[in-house]
Each structure stands twice: as C-alpha cells, then as structure tokens.
C-alpha cells in the first residue's frame, strides 16, 4: 500500500516537472529570449494547457463518477465572461481616463462611467452599464465570482438533476440543454454581455499595458501551467482518497453504494461542483489568451468536443484526459489553421479544414473500437508488452 502511494506521488511529481520544464523551454524559445517561436504560438500553447485542465475537470465527473456532462463549456465560458468583464471594464476605463486627460477640466466619476457605457455597449445600441457589471471595477470580487457563479450554477443544476435521479444519457441531454440555453441567452443583445459580440480585447491586461504581448503571453503561460499542475494535484488527491473510490463505485453501481449507507446524491453534487469550478478557472485563464469570448463558445458542440478529447486520451485516467486534450486540440488547430496546402488527389481535392472533422471522427471510432481505454491504455499496453515480462 505504502509502495503504491509512493509511486503515485512519483507520477504527480513527473507530471509537475514535465510541465514546468515545458514552460521553461517555451519561455526560452519565445520572443522574449531567443525568438524561435511566435507570441501567438505561445498563446496557443497556453490555451491548450487550459483545455487540458478542462479535460481533467470533465474526466473527474465522467471518467471517475460516471456523469457524462456535455455542458462543461458552459462553466468554462462563464469563467471567461467573468474575468472578461473586469478586463474589459478596466481597460476601457484606462483608455477613457487617458482621453479625458487632454481636456482642461478633470472628468467626474459619472462622466467616466457614462463614457465607459457608451464605449462598451454602443455596439448593442446601449449606453447604460447593466447592473450585472456592478462589480466590474473590483478584481477580487470578480476572482471570487469566477468560482462562485459557475459553482452555484452547477450546484443548482446538479441538485435538481441528481435529486430526481436523472442519470445516463438523460443527464447528458440535460447538460446539453443547459449550455444551449445559456448560449442562447447570452446571444441576446439585452443580456448585458454584448450579445453575439461577446467580450473582446481581453488580451490587453489593465495595468500591464506597457508590457509587450510577448511578455503577457509568457506570464499567462506560467499562470496556466501553475493552474494545470494545481488542478492535477487536487484531482489526484480526490481520486486517490476514499471519496475517490466511492465515486468510482457510484459510476459502477450506484445502488450498491446507496444501500451501503452513502448519500449518493451528495457525492455526485460535490464532484460536479468541484469539476465545474475547475472548468471555470480554466476558462478564466483561457480567454485572456484567446482575446475574445462570445456565446458561440458555449455552443453544445464545444462540450461534445471536450468529451471526445477525454475519451480519445483515456477517461478514468487523469493523464489520459490531459494527453487527449493536448494532442487533439493542437492537431485540430494545426489542421484548421489553413496553413497546410490542400491535397490534390486528382479526382478529389482534400481541403484539410473540412477533412479534419472526418479525421477526428474516424480516430474517435478507431479508438473506441480498438482501445476503449483511450490512447493512454494503448501506451500502457505497449509498455507492458515491451518491459512487463
């Protein structure tokens, strides 16, 4: 038993070291030092790390607890919106104060507010700052809200769903409905979050405007690495605890756990809320690197992709989820970037942007058929075959 714990710790340490080393190398290669890779690529890598964290979050509820949530991007994007509100407000405020500085009379607070309102909401035909932006001036409140609001949404949704004993595919459909409903709501111009324009200019960090983007991207890369490592450690801790065994028991046989005297609904709710919070934190670090968050991010398909990544990587294993999200999302952005020339086979022209989805679908089918445990279990089997005996 002790031996097992030691090897587990070893795995976690390896994971941490790998990502720290990775970020170090990227930092060295970035525009800041050697300049071998572009700032935008650093951002892609930073974003990928946060998709990995979202994948860990999904793996926790799906791979371990058996709740296939197809709405995790709702939490992810909510995290983005919540940090985005502060970023956009503060940034706009800075610009407006600068603009007013050229005038003789210093502006009154209400004048500044009015100008901010016009600047941000002019695009949806408004000028009033909606009441949900009341805390947009306070970073710490918004940092708290990143945890609180997605957590609360997960709590209410989960409580209603689990209490009524909705399980399996019905629950998945409900989560899809949740993310779709939220997405449709945010699409409205009077939702107070700029409708389909979403929040933009998030890459400009207030207070850091004198910093070049190459620097900002590296800062976010490190923040993302830290968040991913922390998320991994917390998830490992949860899955290795007695609670971790319990939620796996719930996945395998809910009734058995219930009749052993455990309150199944409480456990499900706990895991679901923790997972939603992890996804929200991932989103809060993702969108400043992406620069924009809008309602299409919450489209049901996004959450389905997340589930596909996790299952290609290997659900029920945290590293599997990370591998799946990293590889598939990187390859995906490679194929859909339009940088690869079309392949002319004579009778058909393969344009990778379109064909990528077919490749993804095929690889999903192949993984499901031949290695249901995902890439990670395929690696493990190869490893066992070569060194096991």
């Amino acid at each position: 038993m002790l031996k097992l714990i030691k090897t587990m710790d070893f795995k976690t340490i390896c994971f941490c070291l790998f990502f720290i080393l990775f970020s170090l190398i990227i930092t060295l290669l970035s525009d800041l030092i050697f300049g071998s890779i572009s700032t935008s690529f650093v951002k892609v890598l930073g974003k990928t790390l946060m998709l990995c964290l979202a994948a860990i979050a999904l793996d926790l509820v799906w791979g371990y607890c058996g709740i296939l949530s197809l709405g995790h991007f709702a939490f992810f994007a909510l995290g983005g919106y919540l940090i985005g509100m502060w970023l956009m407000y503060e940034r706009t405020k800075e610009i407006i104060i600068q603009a007013f500085a050229e005038q003789l009379l210093p502006p009154t607070p209400s004048e500044i507010k009015e100008a901010i309102g016009i600047q941000i909401f002019g695009v949806v035909g408004g000028s009033e700052i909606p009441s949900i932006w009341i805390f947009a001036d306070y970073l710490f409140i918004h940092l708290f809200l990143i945890i609180f609001i997605p957590g609360l949404l997960a709590l209410i949704f989960g409580w209603l769903a689990f209490r009524s004993r909705v399980t399996g595919v019905y629950l998945s459909i409900l989560t899809q409905a949740m993310t779709l409903a939220l997405s449709l709501y945010l699409l409205q111009n009077d939702s107070g979050l700029r409708g389909n324009n979403g929040l933009s200019g998030l890459q400009n960090i207030p207070g850091f405007t004198s910093f070049p983007q190459s620097m900002v991207s590296i800062l976010f890369l490190w923040a993302s690495t830290l968040a991913l490592i922390l998320g991994f450690i917390i998830a490992t801790f949860i899955t290795k605890s007695k609670l971790g065994k319990l939620i796996q028991g719930i996945r395998d046989d809910e009734d058995r756990i219930r009749f052993l005297g455990y309150n199944v609904e409480t456990y499900k709710l706990f895991v679901f809320v923790i997972s939603a919070i992890m996804a929200a934190i991932a989103g809060a670090l993702y969108y400043p690197q992406a620069g924009i968050v809008n309602p299409t991010e919450l489209a049901p398909i996004a959450s389905i992709y997340l589930a596909v990544w996790v299952s290609i990587g290997g659900r029920g294993k945290l590293i599997g989820a990370v591998i799946g999200a990293a590889f598939v999302s990187l390859i995906s952005s490679f194929f859909t970037s339009g940088q690869i020339p079309d392949l002319n086979l004579g009778f058909i022209i393969i344009s990778w942007v379109d064909w990528w989805l077919i490749i993804l679908g095929l690889s999903f089918v192949i993984v499901t058929l031949f290695t249901p445990g995902g890439l990670i279990s395929a690696f493990e089997n190869i490893y066992k075959r070569s060194f096991g005996r």
């Binding site: 007695k242 609670l243 065994k245 796996q248 395998d252 009734d255 058995r256 009749f259 005297g261």
Partner: protein
C-alpha cells in the same frame, strides 16, 4: 425476544396491481428467517419497501428498540440505521478489487468531507482480512471483482454487508447460480451470521431453505399465507395449493 423489525399492514400497488396487500410480520433479534413464495408474490417488493426503495401506500414499518418508523426515511438513512441488503443479481463494484470493495463497505464515516480525508486504520485492515477469510476470498484480495465467478461475487456481496456490520441482513436469493457445495457453505455462513444479527433470506430453492432450518414465511399475492417451520408450512393445504403442489 424483542423484535428488530415489525411490518404493520403495508400495502402498495403499481398501476392498480396490488403487489403487497395488507402485509404484516415481524423479525426477532438474531433471528434467521426465510421468505418464500411463487413469482410475483411480492418478495422483492417487500425488500424494496423495507430498505426504502419503494414507499408503501399505507402501513408502517418499525425498527429497533426505539420503534423508529422507516416509512419516511431514505435508502441511505435506513442503511445507516443498520439494514444491509444483498440484491438478487450480485451487485459488487466490478472495476475495483475485492479489498477495495470491502474497504468501502466498512462501517465508518459516511459524510463527504470525512471520506475525502479518511485514513483507514490498522484495525480496519485486519477486519477486512477477517471478513475476506470468512467469505474465502482472502487469497485474492487484489483481484478485480468483475473477474470473480458468479458464486464468488455473491459471497463478496455478503462480505461487503458483513463489513458494513448491519443489525439486519436482507439477502435476496443468495444461492442463485451456485454449485451444490457452494450452497451448503452459504447456508452455513448465513446460519453463523444469524448468531450475532437478524438475517432474512428470500429464496426459491427448497433444499436450500431446508438447510437453513429456520422459521419460514410463505408469501402469496402480497400477503402472508403461512408461517412456521418448513415441515409445518409444507403440510399447509393452502401452501400446497398455490406453491408447492405445482
């Protein structure tokens, strides 16, 4: 002998079909009881009602010395009061090892914060080993439960209930899918268990009931048809008519 469980005139119907009809009976402290009856007699429904899975339309169920009513309690609360249940189909955690299955069943904290930081004690490891020995799985503690034979799964589930240490054990068809020698062992085990707790066995198999050598309750169409030892009930005309004679 004071009663640990008293079922008072419960009825339940599903879409107009009366599965349980004004049924009353009681189980004494440390009693071994067999419940038999033809298909559809309401045996499993009765178990569902006692464990809180199904709520009766009328009637009451009283538990323990303090006569607590179980009617309003959830499955979890009833299990925590000390009712253990073995399902008809062996229900174990298929992807976890025998040891993990037993560890999870041990009687300790059930709150989620406690389970998050829970550390198993030496005594608990010893207890798991004892239980494993009793159910003859101590040599394969690290085997995944899904790889066990049908009979071994049945035993593992009984072992999980033992680890849970309930005062009343409800066992639904424990001998199903077992070889003859396994049946004998199971009967011996259940008799042994009934020395320290009450055990209720629902079973079809007459030979198995005979081996248990205990009081038998015959159910028919949702109510008690006859009660007594096996020889007594098997001479009862009504019982012969509806069940044994066919």
């Amino acid at each position: 002998m004071s009663d640990i469980l008293e079922v008072r005139g419960i009825s339940v119907s599903f879409d107009g079909f009366k599965a349980i009809n004004n049924l009353s009976f009681s189980i004494g402290q440390n009693e071994l009881r067999a419940i038999i009856g033809p298909n559809g007699a309401g045996k499993t429904t009765l178990m569902d009602i006692i464990t809180g899975k199904t709520k009766p339309d009328i009637g009451d169920i009283r538990w323990g010395k303090n006569n607590i009513s179980l009617i309003k309690k959830s499955e979890t609360q009833i299990a925590q009061l000390g009712v253990g249940r073995k399902f008809q189909k062996p229900t174990v955690l298929e992807y976890q090892t025998v040891e993990e299955n037993l560890m999870i069943s041990l009687k300790n904290s059930r709150g989620f914060i406690q389970t998050l930081i829970y550390k198993y004690t030496e005594e608990e490891f010893t207890r798991v080993n004892e239980v494993a020995k009793l159910i003859k799985l101590n040599k394969i503690l690290n085997k995944i439960a899904g790889e066990l034979s049908h009979g071994q799964k049945q035993w593992l589930e009984i072992g999980m209930l033992l680890a849970q240490d309930p005062s009343l054990l409800l066992v639904d068809e424990p001998a199903a899918g077992m070889t003859n020698s396994e049946r004998t062992d199971t009967a011996t085990l259940l008799k042994e268990l009934s020395k320290t707790r009450s055990v209720v066995v629902v079973e079809h198999d007459m030979d198995f009931i005979r081996q248990l050598n205990c009081k038998v309750t015959v159910l028919h169409e949702g109510s008690v048809l006859a009660e007594g030892n096996l020889d007594h009930v098997s001479k009862d005309n009504k019982v012969i008519e509806v069940y044994l004679g066919r």
